[in-house]
């Protein structure tokens, strides 16, 4: 999946929970308090199902989930690892 498509898909999911319409792709959604850390589990379920990846404990870093950009990079990395 192209990065732009990936980001649109992520934004589509996040938008169901984040009531702010114009949050930026590089904006930290936890620091901005758009979502709380409990939301991470729903986010994990979404990326696992949508992008056919498996999130492991070692992936549980804020840097992987904190923004649309971070999520897109994380999914891309996991998909590349799986394809290798």
């Amino acid at each position: 999946m192209e990065t732009q498509q990936l980001k649109e898909s992520l934004r589509g999911f996040l938008q169901e929970y984040i009531k702010v319409a114009d949050f930026k792709d590089d904006e930290n959604i936890f620091a901005a308090k758009y979502v709380n850390s409990l939301f991470v589990m729903q986010l994990i379920l979404f990326v696992e199902k949508e992008f056919a990846i498996r999130v492991e404990t070692e992936d549980m870093e804020l840097a992987n989930f904190c923004s649309v950009d971070a999520l897109a990079a994380f999914v891309d990395k996991k998909q590349s690892e799986a394809a290798a």
Binding site: M41, L45, K49, T57, M60
Partner: protein
């Protein structure tokens, strides 16, 4: 995960034929004896959340739900043990390291070890972010201090998953019963789930190695709530539905043979109202549980709120069905000669454990409406 219909059916038969007839006696004795726990192990009950590669029979959510319903129908106390054990098994299966899985899951799957989830404290229930148990780093791993209370299965569990605050954030450690500094005091005479063998656990400077951490330090709370409490909520939702089914069965059977003015009670419209309320709500609760199970099998993000909604509805249904059951059975239902009084007491517990009804309402309201129409 695939369906495992044969093993599910065998387990449900075991629960109905072997466990249910003993449920009142277990309640009176306030324990589930090792003999019965071992029998359950032989039937693979303790391995329903453990992958087959580690000796379990990992059921998909649909079959897991059926087994939990059958367990709740047979004995609320056994359901309580199954719930906490399954929560820990699911958490290790999902977030454990390879070493943790290899060391613990085969033991847990067979029932040679039973697990419990030790979250509640004298002053804290569901509020994981404000636990008073403190976990600090040490040269060899972690030191944990605190008191856990109302822990189901504590009297017999071999392994505890213990959440506490580490640098202000919740994390969870796997603590063996034999750990130095860990003490357990039995809690008896509870209102319901009297055979669930509750206990209070004191953790006094318990030294634990690095590899007892389950999940991450960063997102421990999300991992706990998402994969441990969530499994517990779903199991309890199904169990409450099972209890409602047991109440309905008992009510219907009694109302069909008890006569008033020469007519069976079930011909009276006011009795029919109670029977129909119990029947319709039990059916609706079952469908909500299976809807949540479908979301779980598909890995849908809304599975969490769906299980929460099922728990909310099913626990209210259990109370209604138990209330109606005692009402229909009258004095007989209030006595030790009938299971109705046990079901009535157990029904109230469903309202409280694994997140009270009010906690579920908060969670459901916070989710908005999007899951309702999916």
């Amino acid at each position: 995960m695939k369906k495992n219909g044969l093993k599910t059916s065998a387990l449900c038969e075991f629960l109905q034929d072997v466990v249910a007839p003993q449920a009142d006696e277990l309640d009176t004795q306030q324990s589930i004896p090792k003999r019965l726990r071992d029998q359950a192990g032989e039937m693979n009950l303790w391995g329903i959340c453990v992958p087959t590669e580690y000796g379990g029979i990992q059921l998909n959510a649909e079959d897991f739900s059926k087994v939990c319903m059958a367990t709740g129908k047979a004995s609320g106390s056994l359901l309580s043990l199954l719930t906490i054990h399954s929560m820990v098994c699911a958490a290790i299966s999902r977030w454990g390291t390879k070493q943790q899985k290899q060391a613990l899951l085969p033991e847990l799957a067979s029932g040679r070890k039973l697990a419990a989830f030790a979250q509640s404290e004298p002053q804290v229930g569901c509020d994981v972010a404000n636990l008073q148990t403190v976990i600090e780093k040490s040269a060899h791993g972690y030191v944990i201090n605190g008191v856990k209370k109302w822990i189901s299965g504590a009297q017999v569990a071999d392994l505890f998953l213990v959440p506490g605050l580490h640098q202000g954030k919740p994390i969870a450690l796997l603590v063996e019963r034999a750990t130095a500094g860990l003490e357990i005091t039995a809690i008896n005479d509870m209102l319901g789930f009297r055979a669930a063998m509750l206990g209070e656990i004191t953790l006094n400077n318990c030294q634990l190695s690095h590899d007892t951490l389950l999940g991450s330090e960063m997102f421990g709370l999300a991992q706990l709530v998402g994969s441990v409490l969530d499994v517990g909520r779903h199991a309890i939702a199904c169990g409450a539905t099972g209890l409602a089914q047991a109440c309905l069965q008992l009510s219907t059977e009694y109302a069909s043979r008890r006569k008033i003015d020469g007519k069976p009670m079930d011909q009276l419209q006011l009795v029919q109202q109670m029977l129909s309320d119990s029947a319709v709500q039990a059916r609706a609760a079952m469908l909500m549980c299976m809807d949540a199970a479908k979301a779980r099998d598909e890995g849908q993000p809304d599975m969490i709120v769906k299980s929460s909604a099922a728990k909310y509805f099913a626990s209210m249904t259990a109370k209604l069905a138990a209330d109606n059951c005692v009402q229909i059975l009258g004095a007989y239902g209030c006595s030790g000669e009938s299971a109705a009084q046990r079901l009535f007491r157990d029904a109230k517990i469903f309202d409280i454990i694994e997140g009270s009804t009010q906690i579920q309402q908060t969670l459901i309201a916070g989710e908005g409406e999007h899951w309702v129409f999916n």
